[in-house]
């Protein structure tokens, strides 16, 4: 029972990732693509959690938190590049 439910959920997340990939390719501006990439990261976390249930292991649990942190840092870096033109500025103007 839980196996079929998990399979259906994985298929739904894969379809939503497909729609997000369409937005990444087609997206008219760069911020569209960044938001879509962030959402793809969240979907990957969800799929890994579901696969964790499906193969009945806890070995991938660390990956979920790790990937959440990495997706956050990547999105922050991209947004800072869009806003300021540099990712790491040398001296902060207070």
């Amino acid at each position: 029972m839980i196996q079929t439910a998990v399979t259906i959920a994985i298929i739904c997340l894969a379809l939503s990732m497909l729609a997000l990939v369409y937005r990444i390719i087609k997206g008219p501006t760069l911020p569209d693509r960044i938001v879509a990439l962030d959402a793809v990261g969240v979907n990957i976390v969800g799929i890994v959690a579901l696969i964790c249930i499906k193969v009945d292991t806890t070995a991938y649990v660390e990956f979920i938190l790790l990937f959440g942190i990495l997706a956050f840092i990547g999105t922050v870096a991209f947004s800072k590049y869009l806003e300021k033109g540099v990712i790491i500025d040398h001296d902060r103007d207070r």
Binding site: A59, Y60, E62, F63, L65, L66, I69, L70, F72, I73, V76, A77, K80, E83, K84, I87, I88, D89, H90, D91, R92
Partner: protein, 141 residues
């Protein structure tokens, strides 16, 4: 327009400690669960990278007054030292030892010298990634 990143800086103050604790956990959990020195080091440098993104290069240099190239050297010394330590006891290079040790506060601990080797890997990974990021990111003109 002058931009202010108050939200990012406040979030960083909370998230930095969470990421550091997670990286230390993943470093020590490497023997029995997925993880180890490499991932822990990358996650620690991720935390410092978040600090670099929210603040700037000079502030991070003030917070962490560490030359990361020395950190690479210390990590390599740890790795070589745990390997060469077995030569003292007439064992082949990189033979590891383990045993139950009585530590005053923590009590009985099952310790293994592979952790020291892993600590070397951790220091090398943090040093290499941070020196790459600081060299590329910091344009001193």
């Amino acid at each position: 327009m002058k931009t202010s990143n108050v939200i990012l800086q406040s979030m960083t103050k909370v998230l930095l400690f969470l990421i550091m604790i997670f990286s230390i956990y993943i470093f020590f959990a490497g023997h029995y669960t997925p993880g180890g020195g490499f991932v822990g080091g990358l996650l620690t440098s991720g935390a410092i990278l978040l600090l670099l993104l929210a603040y700037d290069l000079q502030t991070v240099r003030n917070i962490l007054p560490v030359n990361f190239l020395y950190m690479v050297a210390v990590g390599l010394v740890f790795a070589i030292g745990t390997g060469a330590g077995s030569l003292i006891f007439n064992k082949p290079f990189l033979t590891h030892a383990f045993g139950d040790l009585h530590v005053p506060i923590l009590g009985e601990l099952h310790l293994h010298t592979a952790t020291l080797f892993d600590l070397g890997v951790y220091l090398v990974v943090v040093g290499v990634t941070m020196s790459i990021i600081q060299t590329i990111g910091g344009d001193d003109e």
